[in-house]
Amino acid sequence: MNNSQSNVNHEPLLQVKGLETAFSIEGKDHNAVDGVSFNVEKGKIVGVVGESGCGKSVMSLSVMNLLPKGIGKIRNGEILFEGRHLEGLDDKEMNKIRGKDISMIFQEPMTSLNPVFTIGYQLEEVLHNHFKLSKKEAREKVVQLLSAVGISRADRIVDEYPHQLSGGMRQRVMIAMAIACQPKLLIADEPTTALDVTVQAQILELLQDIQKKNDMAIIFITHDLGVVSETCDEVIVMYAGRIVERTDVQRLFNSPKHPYTELLMGAIPRLEEEQDMLATIDGIVPSLTKMPEVGCRFANRCPKAMKECSTVTPKLAKNEEGHEVACLLYETSRPEEEVLR
Amino acid sequence: DSDDSGDDTEDTSENTDSEGDSGEDASGEPQEGGTLNYAIDSEPEGILSPNFYGSATDFEVIQFGIDPLFEYDENLQIEPNLADWSTEDNKVFTFTFEEGVKWHNGDELTVEDWVFALETLADPDYTGPRYANVQTIEGAEAYHSGDADSISGIEVVSDYEVKVTFDKARVNNLLNVWSYPMNRSYWEGVEVADMQDSDKMRQGMMGTGPFKLTKVVPGESYQYEANEDYWKGAPKLDKVIVKVIDSKSVIGALENGDVDMVPVHPTLGKQVEEMENVDLRTYPGLSYYYLGFKFGKFDNEKKEVVEKNDKYADLKLRKAMYHAINRDEWIEAFFSGYGSKVNAPVPTNHWIAADQSELNDYAYDTEKAKSLLDEAGYKDVNDDGFREDPNGDEFVINLAHYASTNPTFESRAKALTQYWEEVGLKAELQMIESSLYYDKVEKDAEGIEVFFGGWSTGSDPDPSALWKSDQLWNYTRWVNEESDQLLDDALDIDKVGTDQEKRKEKYVEWQKLLNEQLPMLYIAELEEIYGVNKRVGGVEFDVSGSNSPHLWYIQN
């Protein structure tokens, strides 16, 4: 999994710096992603976890420049892909990258395919978008791709329509579509949430296989910590539009630092251990319009909250082990001027 | 009347046997060529033969292509056209045909063509409505029932002469007999039963008239081209196009010149009059409106009136109702003045019409009406503002009128009831769907007491079918021996001979009787109105209709 080590050039594949994405609700802009920075290295799988509504999808759509037009926009920050600025690119430029260098798969395999076109047609389209291919070549390539994602009757499936396929198959088709141009980065937004466990296992297996084969980086969005623990190299924990913790997977699960992460992990029942009571987090993620202006956004749900938590905004900072966390319990997270005061 | 055109008389056909007169010299400088756009404002049925058509609208379409044996002059007197006649006794007639008259296909017109027409009409399989016009020929009934192979009363003398014997001498045998020939060779091979459906009648026509029908768009338009061989001289126009337009388009079409000539409803007359490019042409009509009373019920088996209805039996009541109506105002309001009062059931321009001075004019006079009612015992005894009948019971005049989409029907009928209410007679109006109206009247249906109606007189003035007490269509169920006798006398060759004046005398007497007895309140007669574009010349109208279209032309 560490194929990227061989790469001498240490520039990360994707750099996100201070990303702020806002939606306009009733005429006002509200940040759904609020100052998010992270890197994705070549060939790594980065997991993003957090409760529903905390901005995971918006963050990934920002990278792809797929925010709903007129409603959502990137307000601030930089997105660098192989050193190239993506923010502010127009559709035409972006279309050269989308599907080729960066591709994406979504949670709902049922609705993500256009119901009125055949599978083959939709797969060929992505090839035609980026390469000059004859019809025949494209079709051959498509059959190849479908076989590669483990679809058995690939030559028949190309002529079928999405509704004729099961959920698992459709997600495979989506994956085939995403890897058709051998992208360097794949963004997978909850790709297995809608699937059954046994099928989820198939898909995860497949993704990992492909990742290895293509030396592809993956941003893997999920709220299932179990999935993260088994697939990812690094984990980003998001809460209310911000990153609260970020480190490699082992360290996160062995010694979570942010109270939110801790609670999240305590809340899931484990197969291996007996738990009497599960941890709970009172309340819910605040909606966009109700985000506290300053302070830690988790403060009002945090059992360890201190007085200053609602006035001082913690910053995401690395400790010596390279474990990043944004919580005032840790000195590193205190903004400099606050420390001085 | 089923056409919603606005023309609401029962004139479903006929009286049109009369055509424009030929001798007339057209004024202005006739010009050669040009196309005349002639419009009709209701849909024809599309039967393009005078021998089969049923609606007046169809006649308007075919009039350009046909030519009758006889015509009528401005006094509605019959005169020769394609044929002349002579008779001694009004029973046997000898007809002499014009020579050299050509059918549109080039055939020459002979008496055979007329005989063919008569035989067709009398044929057992004949589907048209004109059998009555041959029925009076001797032997026609036998032929009609299939008992004879030919009509015995017809004797062809030569190609241009034929002798016709009627079953008996009548004053009106000539007026009644069928006067349009049919081209025998054109109809070769078509069974009588199939004629009406055949393309020969639907898509084309064969006549001897001034124009030849060259194209048909069924129900929509008809194109005629000049018949250069027309025996009275080649027409001046090249083409005539007959278009069917909606009555609401008449004004617009006239104004922007889409249409050169079109019959116009009286209510539109004023507007047409104002148009710069259009002349309003009027001529006396032969139709009139009346209010009938039901005096009883008719038994169609026994052919007699079997029940009496006394509600309106009092002549004073009827006179009072007559005086209460302001006919002049009413005509002005609902027919824009294109009409005038009548005092008897004969249009004043008909040759049998009595001189108006000989008739009572029941002028609008509410005082007189009131005093007549008082005399008759119709008084307001319970102070509700309305008069009760002489017994003191409530008295309501029930007026029936036909309804169609034309909204003036309701208001003109309502206006009549309002006149009566003004003299204290309570009146109620019942509008009846026009397709059912005359059926109800004919069947003496419950609730029909005073009914509005209209009628057209034909060139033969005999009103027996409407007035004789043994006739189904004597809607008032008025039984009067004197009237019956007068009507019989007027037709009786022994009494009136062949002298029209004598005949007229009888009718005048009859009119006086009806003017006195008032089985109906005669309301108004209408003028016929045409809008004619100023570029059209040579058009003349009289009581018999327009002159022959071969005289029409386009100026400029």
């Binding site: 046994t198 198939q202 995860l204 299932d224 910590l225 088994e230 029942p269 009571m277 941890a279 709970t280 | -």
Partner: protein, 333 residues
């Protein structure tokens, strides 16, 4: 609950389901004839002892909800019997059927669709009581509902609110309060947490556990998440395509799954406790077949890594292979 009590009550069967079948007719053609059947539940047998929680897991569409609904007679099962306290529910009609619903209640999966948007929360919760105790006094009823609200952790003001004013977790509490209103003995919880976020899910799970102790409840707990089921249940039934494949104590099922499907299922569950170590996963081939056209013999044989020839011919019956562990698999014949 003391140990002795537990033992005593656990031997008493509250609910017995025997060979329950529910086939939905498939209509087609112009005259809407029955042209087939969806064998949603095809011979399910299990029992629940008083005070215990039986978990039911299985993949989507395997007939879990149908089983739950058939027990409550929200559906009329095609055949089989459902004994509640020894009485066959499938034969009940009229008043008796309605009465049985006092004892068995249900918590539904979708916290949005399961509450009538036109009703106030107070009405939602008091409705079952009104259905059965028509004459209860207004104030008394209200106090009772308030009590229930507090019990499931909702503020009293909730009484006058409408469902749309609550979050998913809170709505699920309302649903639970409604189920509790009639003081039932058995609650069928049909995926009560699958629509909820992890943090909220744990709240509801904890609540259900607390209520069980407090009201002496028996649960049929349906879920597709094996770890949730394991957390909640005493025993677990594993369903596949309308059939129970294995029923056993949760410890034995986890420690020693006997049925190949159970084994695959357990190995497929990603577990956060095993971070870093690469587990041996049994990845099944293909998808779950359609219940309209189920495979012959053992329904699992099309995907079973250990399938034998006879598996496609003989349908295995549920058998006690180890004490307390029933398996339907020809491997253990």
């Amino acid at each position: 609950m003391s140990i002795t009590e537990l033992n005593k009550s656990q031997t008493e069967k509250l609910l017995e389901v025997n060979d329950l079948k529910m086939h939905f007719p498939v209509k087609g053609g112009f005259f809407k004839r029955t042209i087939g059947a969806v064998k949603a539940v095809d011979g399910v047998t299990f029992d629940i002892k008083k005070g215990e929680t039986l978990g039911l897991v299985g993949e989507s569409g395997c007939g879990k909800s149908t089983t739950g609904r058939s027990i409550l007679r929200l559906l009329d099962p095609t055949s089989g019997e459902v004994l509640f306290n020894g009485e066959d529910i499938t034969k009940l009609t009229g008043k008796r059927l309605r009465d049985i619903r006092q004892d068995i209640q249900m918590v539904f999966q979708d916290p949005y669709a399961s509450l009538n948007p036109m009703q106030m929360v107070g009405d939602i919760i008091s409705e079952p009581i009104k259905n059965y105790y028509n004459k209860r006094k207004g104030s008394e009823l209200k106090a009772e509902v308030m009590d229930l609200l507090t019990r499931v952790g909702l503020p009293e003001e909730a009484y006058y609110k409408y469902a749309h004013e609550f979050s998913g977790g809170q709505r699920q509490r309302i649903g639970i309060a409604r189920a509790l209103a009639l003081k039932p003995k058995l609650i069928i919880a049909d995926e009560p947490v699958s629509a909820l976020d992890v943090s909220v899910q744990s709240q509801v799970l904890n609540l259900l556990n607390e209520l069980q102790d407090e009201f002496d409840l028996t649960y049929l707990f349906i879920a597709h998440d094996l770890s949730v089921v394991k957390h909640m249940s005493d025993r677990i039934g594993v369903m596949y395509l309308g059939n129970i494949m294995e029923v056993a104590n949760k410890s034995s099922i986890y420690a020693d799954p006997l049925h190949p499907y159970t084994q695959a299922l357990i190995s497929a569950v990603p577990d956060a406790s095993k971070v870093g170590e690469k587990r041996e996963r049994i990845v099944l081939e293909g998808d779950v077949p359609s219940p309209e056209n189920p495979p012959s013999g053992c329904p699992f044989h099309t995907r079973c890594p250990k399938a034998m020839d006879e598996c496609s011919k003989v349908k295995p019956q549920l058998k006690e292979v180890k004490p307390g562990q029933h398996v339907a698999c020809l491997l253990y014949e």
